[in-house]
Each structure stands twice: as structure tokens, then as C-alpha cells.
């Protein structure tokens, strides 16, 4: 039976490789000085999603909330095999705590419509809270299984999975729909596929199109700019890259 799967991915500063230059005088971090990367455990969540789809059929939709730059991790999802990606970007969401973040992500998932399985990484390496997954599950009114290590099988609407419990593991059965948070080491994330990179590297979100068209045209009237942006959007949409 095919499953519709949603995976939540976050772009994060590379906190594992912080250099002295990235630390400010007052002890805070200069985010701009840090490379932005795909949150490591979200790659494991994506891989788990792709494995389920490859085994049972279905779709994988990756969603992310962040600034326009976060489109980078979504393109990466396309390179690795996601069917569809969605970016939620809005200045008002900038200083969200986990309650707000999980609300926005849960509402997005509801808007998408059908979902059988939602996957998150266990934890993002910047906020380090591991709260967003359980909070999305609560908001969607579905059960959660945290620290997923392995999916044994999914049959008759029930998943049998192994989860880590700190000092050991347990195998549990849970009815779909369900949310899993996946730990690093659960699987080996597949690399981007060259063919998909060729195809999707030109995929753009609207904010990126505007910025690119602006840069290429230089000084033009607002009207001309809007026109050019619209043409570019239509062109990309025809190719399935918008």
C-alpha cells in the first residue's frame, strides 16, 4: 500500500565546526560567519521517508520553515529523491519558539491534506531542543514515536518500529497516521543523484526568482521588472521547477 509522507527539514548554522571568529565579544554567535547546512538528523529523516516510499510506494513531500536561503536544503531534498518541496518563509516567523514553529509546520501539513507518516529529525543542532517533532504530533492529534532507529514493516495501517530509549531500545507497534523523530545513525543518507541535480538545480522559489531577475537586469522600471519576473516564473513553472 502506498503512503503519503511528509518530512520536516531545517537549514541550520554548522554549530559543530564553530571557530573563534564566529563567536562575538559578548559570547553570542555571529550566524553570518557560519556556513548553513542541512540539519544532520533531518537527512536521516529524509532517508527514512525515501526508504518507505521506495518499499511501499507513495509520495515524499519535504517542508521547511526559514528564510529564502533555506530553499537550498529543499533543492537538496529534490536531488536526493523527494517528490515535492514546500518552503514557508515569512519575516514574522523569524523569532519563533518551538511552540510557534510547530504550529506553523502543523498548519502547513494540514493544508497539504493527506498524510500517513510525518518524519522529523530528532533535534536541530542550533536550538538543540528536540521539541518540534512531539509538538507537531500533538497539534495534529496523532501519536509520536521519538528516537526512531529502524522501521521493521508497515502493514494494515500499522507500523512496527524500533526506537532508542537511551539505555537500550524497544520495539513498538503504532497505528498510522503517526509522527516519527529519527536519530542519526538510523540509516545512511543517500547522496544526491547526478541526474536529479542536473534537473533541479534550476528549481527556484519566487523570492529567489525576483532576486535573480533583479540582479540580471540592473536598472529597469518596476513594471519591466515585474514583467520579467512573471515571464521567468511561467517558464520555470512549465518545466516543473517553480
Amino acid at each position: 500500500m502506498p503512503y503519503d509522507i511528509v518530512v520536516c527539514v531545517k537549514q541550520v548554522p554548522d554549530t559543530a565546526n564553530i571557530t573563534a571568529e564566529a563567536m562575538k565579544e559578548d559570547g553570542t554567535v555571529n550566524r553570518a560567519a557560519l556556513p548553513a547546512i542541512f540539519n544532520p538528523e533531518d537527512l536521516n529523516a529524509l532517508e527514512a521517508a525515501l526508504e518507505i516510499r521506495d518499499r511501499y510506494g507513495g509520495t515524499v513531500t519535504a517542508i521547511s520553515m526559514g528564510p529564502p536561503k533555506a530553499a537550498e536544503v529543499l533543492r537538496d531534498c529534490l536531488y536526493r529523491g523527494a517528490d515535492r518541496v514546500i518552503l514557508i518563509t515569512d519575516r514574522r516567523a523569524a523569532a519563533s519558539d518551538t511552540l510557534a514553529t510547530s504550529y506553523i509546520l502543523a498548519q502547513t501539513i494540514r493544508t497539504i491534506g493527506r498524510f500517513d507518516i510525518v518524519l522529523c529529525g530528532r533535534q536541530a543542532i542550533d536550538g538543540d531542543t528536540a521539541q518540534v517533532g512531539p509538538q507537531i504530533a500533538e497539534k495534529l492529534g496523532i501519536p509520536q514515536v521519538t528516537y526512531l532507529e529502524k522501521i521493521d514493516c508497515i502493514e494494515n495501517g500499522t507500523a512496527r518500529v524500533r526506537r532508542n530509549v537511551g539505555r537500550g531500545w524497544e520495539v513498538v507497534e503504532v497505528k498510522l497516521p503517526v509522527l516519527f523523530t529519527v536519530i542519526g545513525g538510523a540509516n545512511q543518507p543517500r547522496p544526491p543523484a547526478a541526474k536529479k541535480v542536473m534537473r533541479y538545480k534550476r528549481a527556484r522559489i519566487p523570492a529567489e526568482i525576483e532576486a535573480e531577475v533583479k540582479a540580471s537586469l540592473g536598472q529597469v522600471s518596476d513594471e519591466e521588472l515585474l514583467d520579467a519576473v512573471e515571464r521567468r516564473k511561467q517558464e520555470l513553472a512549465r518545466q516543473g521547477l517553480l
Binding site: T28, A130, Q131, P134, E138, T146, G166, W169, V171, V172
Partner: protein, 343 residues
């Protein structure tokens, strides 16, 4: 949403497994006691499970004034949704001002679910908690007696202080082993309150098939910062200083064999040839001479700070920074400086 309640109790979620309480719960009872004494309110412990009533007296001996026991065979094994239902029901009924959970795998699974359901704030993985007045930088309004929730974030590279003005209760998960485990006082009095929470079949979403648990270990290996105490700390009471410093900078607690042999702390915290080998970003050795067997377990640390009263102690030969002085004076000064810097 639950309105702030300044008379509310300070609560601890009493995590237990197969009839024994998790150590972090007893550490939290001691911390809750401290916070509650400042606020002049009682300490409550919420104890859900099956056949767990006997554990209530232990919670009282460690500082609880009231234990809310929720006895139900359906709570025998932890499951997120029914446990969250218990917490939400009791929080809505009693409106505590603070709720603390251990930052264990179970606590970090449960607490955010509860926070989401009652729309309260939730601070993850705290290493220090204090009560203080806080001025809202935007409105200049002064909020009296808030909980300062202090936690490492950004992969341990920064320490953040988080406060919660209005989305009450103020809730946090707290790391294991950073709050000192205070000796129990068996003569303390407390009240045991039986509570009933409706757990119907539909809340039981998970079915446990198989379980494999190993003996408890302290996770020193992955700690980025370790504060270790040695024989020079002198007593179990003073070893609290090591915990406090670790809490203030978001580190784990380590020990030399002399400290372990003197009973200041459990063997699982020992670092060295016959203990754990660690290589954190920062290692603070207080009252540790630096015997070769100890060094074997820590000399690969990126930065080492040694505090020792004896300028000729061998630990200084491998330390990047050395402080010659009495740790009972030096450590409180370090804690004070760290806390002031965060204000």
C-alpha cells in the same frame, strides 16, 4: 492557555521505571525545594504509574510537600499520550507556577507534548535554574520572581538564559547529574494525594512488543564541557560546588578516583585509566593532583583549566590555564562571574 499563578506550587514530574524513581527526579526535588523556598510555596511531585504509591515517601524525604499519585494499570509502561493527559489534567486543576522534568529520553518525549497541549513555553535541557526579577526590555515592565532557565544551545557553544513572562506554567527539562543529589531527610512530613485521571482505550496508541535496557551509565563521552572534582574537594557536601559550576557553564560532572573512593560521587563519573576516557572542548579539574592514571583519561581535552592549592601539583604541567588557590573560594567566584556576565 493557563494564566500565571503566583501562588502556584513548584512541581517535579516523578519519572519512574519498573517501580524505581529515576535519579534525576530526586535531584530535581532538591532543586525544586530551593526554588520553592525562595517563592514561599510548596513543592509538588506528580507520580503516575502502576503500583507506585510506595515511592511517594522517597519523594517527600527528598523535598516534596505533596505527592499527587495517579495509579492506573494502563500507566504501567510509559506512553506519551496517556502520560501527557495525566500531566495536562493536573496542571489545569492545580495551576503550578513551575513544572520540572528530567531531560531524559522519556522527559524530552513527554514534556514538549504537554507544553503543546496547554500552550505553555518549554525550555529544553537546562543546566541551571534560578529565581529572579526580570525587566521586559520592550515594555520595561518588571516581572517579579520569574524562573531563569539556563541552558547550553548551539551545540554547547553558547549558554542562553530563557524566561517566560506569560505562557505559564514555566516548564523546563533539566539535565541529569547537574543538580546535586541532596541527602534525604526521612523525618520530613508530606501529604499523599490520590488523583484519578480518565485514561480510555483510545489514548493507548502504542503497543510494546519487545524491550531491551542496559544498566545506567553517565554520558561523559559526548559532553563538550566537563567539570571534574578530586580528593581536594574534601567532602560530599562541598562536591556540590562541582555540580554548581558544571550547571553554570552547561557541563557534565566528572571525578577522580579519590573523589569516587571517598564517596563524593558515583563510580560512573570516574575519569581516567579505570574510568571513562574523555576529550571535551573544555576540562576543568578542581582539587585533582593529576596522577598519571587520571591524566590518561583526560589529557586529550582541547583546553584544560586546573584549580589546585599546590603550585607544584602535576596537573599544572598539562593545564592550559592554572589557578593556584583554594577551590572553595575560586569556584564560587567563577560561578558568580559567569552568572553576572549573563545578565
Amino acid at each position: 492557555m493557563i494564566a500565571p499563578n503566583r501562588q502556584g506550587e513548584v512541581w517535579v514530574f516523578a519519572e519512574q521505571e519498573d517501580g524505581s524513581l529515576h535519579d534525576v527526579v530526586l535531584e530535581l526535588c532538591g532543586k525544586a525545594r530551593q526554588l520553592a523556598d525562595v517563592l514561599k510555596v510548596p513543592v509538588g511531585a506528580v507520580l503516575p504509574g502502576h503500583q507506585i504509591r510506595p515511592l511517594a515517601s522517597k519523594l517527600i524525604a527528598h523535598g516534596a510537600d505533596r505527592v499527587y499519585v495517579v495509579e492506573d494499570s494502563r500507566l504501567a509502561h510509559f506512553q506519551t499520550i496517556p502520560y501527557a493527559r495525566v500531566l495536562c489534567t493536573l496542571i489545569e486543576k492545580y495551576r503550578p507556577q513551575i513544572v520540572l522534568y528530567g531531560a531524559t529520553p522519556l522527559g524530552r518525549d513527554l514534556a514538549p507534548r504537554v507544553a503543546s497541549a496547554i500552550q505553555a513555553g518549554m525550555t529544553a535541557d537546562c543546566t541551571d535554574l534560578q529565581i529572579s526579577d526580570v525587566t521586559d526590555p520592550k515594555t520595561k515592565e518588571v516581572h517579579r520572581n520569574l524562573l531563569l532557565q539556563i541552558r547550553p544551545a548551539f551545540g554547547g557553544n553558547i549558554i542562553a538564559t530563557i524566561v517566560n513572562y506569560d505562557r505559564w506554567p514555566q516548564m523546563a527539562t533539566v539535565r541529569e547529574g547537574v543538580m546535586p543529589l541532596l541527602p534525604p531527610n526521612p523525618s520530613r512530613n508530606g501529604e499523599i494525594i490520590d488523583e484519578k485521571v480518565e485514561i480510555d482505550e483510545s489514548l493507548l496508541a502504542l503497543r510494546l512488543i519487545e524491550r531491551h535496557i542496559e544498566p545506567r551509565k553517565v554520558n561523559l563521552k559526548s559532553a563538550r564541557v566537563i567539570v571534574a572534582g578530586g580528593g581536594g574537594v574534601g567532602s560530599k557536601e562541598d562536591f556540590r560546588l562541582i555540580h554548581e559550576l558544571a550547571g553554570a557553564i552547561g557541563g557534565a560532572v566528572g571525578a577522580s578516583r579519590a573523589a569516587v573512593d571517598s564517596g563524593f560521587i558515583g563510580k560512573e563519573h570516574q575519569i581516567g585509566q579505570t574510568g571513562t576516557t574523555v576529550r571535551p572542548a573544555l576540562y576543568i579539574a578542581a582539587g585533582i593532583s593529576g596522577a598519571v592514571q587520571h591524566r590518561a583519561g583526560m589529557e586529550e581535552s582541547a583546553k584544560i583549566i586546573a584549580i589546585n592549592i599546590d603550585p607544584n601539583a602535576p596537573i599544572f604541567s598539562i593545564a592550559h590555564y592554572g589557578i593556584v588557590g583554594d577551590l572553595k573560594k575560586v569556584i564560587p567566584m567563577m560561578i558568580k562571574a559567569l552568572r553576572e556576565r549573563r545578565r
